[in-house]
């Protein structure tokens, strides 16, 4: 870690200041646009400060897993490539992209965002398999939160493709049937730098964090996933404060999302 960069940020934080003049509990402005990739079954673009992410939904018919023969499948993937930020390398998925994908996935799965039983067409034989791919175009920190919003927005935007009489998916025809969405699990990540807690970190802030904590909340305010990141530690006091901060923030973000989904 660049110790000097961290010291400089801590110096600002000690005076209640952030590099971009935001308050500690202030998210950058969020813009959500649905259906930007018309050809995909669903999509959404979310811009938040210098981070811009497109999430796309692809669906297919597949055989279910043997231990969940009556349930459809949901998979989340994050493609972190040099397109959005030169610090990402091309090649096999980095641990960072894996964590982003798995945390968003956990929130959607545990929420649960949708009733995957309703994705079953024939028990043990045929179910819908939903793929969510999160691809940043610009990256300036906080991919889990922004990717998480994009994923939920895209799932809401999604419509089932038509299935023709021999059971094949016709991707060129969309029905107006939505996914069986029951909830909108939204992540909020709080990071700790020194003794300070801040929300929606930029790339510079992420680079000097000691620890981070992501909370994923359901619509009813219950938690459905928590993930700690970073090599530093958190006191119980920290965790309490972070959970409160996250709860405040998620409510604001939810309002923004709901306005767009109407």
């Amino acid at each position: 870690m660049d110790k000097e960069a961290q010291e400089n940020i801590i110096k600002l934080l000690s005076e209640g200041l952030r590099q971009d003049d935001r308050k500690f509990d202030q998210f950058r402005d969020i813009e959500i646009e649905l259906g930007v990739v018309e050809m995909a079954e669903g999509s959404a673009r979310v811009k938040c400060g210098g981070t811009e992410v497109i999430a796309g939904i692809k669906m297919k018919l597949d055989k279910p897993y043997p231990d969940s023969a009556d349930r459809g499948m949901l998979m989340v993937n994050a493609e972190l490539t040099p397109l959005s930020n030169p610090r990402f390398e091309s090649g096999p998925p980095s641990i960072e992209s894996i964590e982003v994908a798995r945390v968003i996935d956990k929130g959607l799965r545990e929420g649960p965002a949708m009733d995957v039983k309703k994705l079953c067409i024939e028990v043990g034989e045929k179910v819908w398999s939903i793929n969510v791919d999160v691809c940043p175009i610009n990256e300036d920190g906080n991919l889990i939160d922004i990717g998480g919003i994009a994923a939920i927005a895209a799932l809401n935007n999604a419509r089932f493709p038509a299935v023709d009489k021999d059971g094949k998916v016709n991707y060129k025809k969309k029905t107006d049937q939505k996914l069986p969405i029951d909830d909108e699990p939204l992540p909020v990540t709080i990071i700790k730098i020194g003794e300070h807690l801040i929300v929606d970190p930029t790339e510079n802030e992420v680079a000097v964090l000691d620890a981070r904590l992501t909370f994923i909340f359901r619509k009813d305010g219950k938690l459905c996933a928590v993930q700690k990141g970073g090599e530093g530690s958190l006191s119980v006091e920290d965790i309490k404060k972070m959970s409160d901060m996250a709860e405040q923030t998620v409510n604001q973000n939810r309002k923004i999302l709901e306005k767009v989904l109407k």
């Binding site: 110790k3 000097e4 960069a5 600002l12 000690s14 005076e15 200041l17 971009d20 003049d21």
Partner: protein
Amino acid sequence: MENKENNKQESKLLVKDRDVVVPGQVLAEGFDFLPSYGTYRDNENILADKLGLIHLEGKVIKIIPMAGRYHPKRYDVIIAKVTDIGMNAWRLNINSAYGAMLSSKEVGGGGGYGSYPQKGNLSKIYKIGDYLFCKIIQVSGQNLVDVSTNGPGLRKLYNGRIIHVNTHKVPRIIGKKGSMVNLIKQATDCKMVVGQNGIVWLQCEPKFESIAVRAIRKIEEESHIPGLTNRIKEFLEKETGKKLDITTKDEKVNNEVKNDI
């Protein structure tokens, strides 16, 4: 009927001074004009070969580049980051197509470390990740760049903030005879070092840091709009509540070497 047309084609200039031009854009027709840096001749036309601003000097058409990484030049003062340490030298990132080397013989006393460091103790002087304010002493044919921290004001920079700016905007950030840098320093009491390679180091009191950074970003964005110095002065006055003077120190401002100690 014989065509007694004048064979010499009429020369025509298609751009004016300070126009933005893009690669492949036709700048002039005819042989009266001469292609210079950033332009080339294609039959009777002169075309641009990079993104930049037109600069006309009589019949000579030149382009001042607006984009692209820093191109190292001898005697430039830059801010470099240590990326590797060898037996006798440090390897540095200078925000260019190439890295640079600092030989242990070229270490200055400015950082209080003494001029003749012992071999093998290089990391005690500058370690990986350190930012150094240094001077380019040599650019070889193979684009090997040698730098030195042996000179007035040259030293390791610490306890500050590093920001990256467009290397082509550095002259505007410094201003004529340092006028712009001086405005920012007056307003914010910041220490500032501007590297010609597009890296700026700032040491400010927390409440002024953001103002200084925003002033620099504003300069970058509006550098092409006339009246910049006055606009920055107004911006800084509004942000800090101070009354400012546009001073142009007539001392030989080798950019920031004087401005920072």
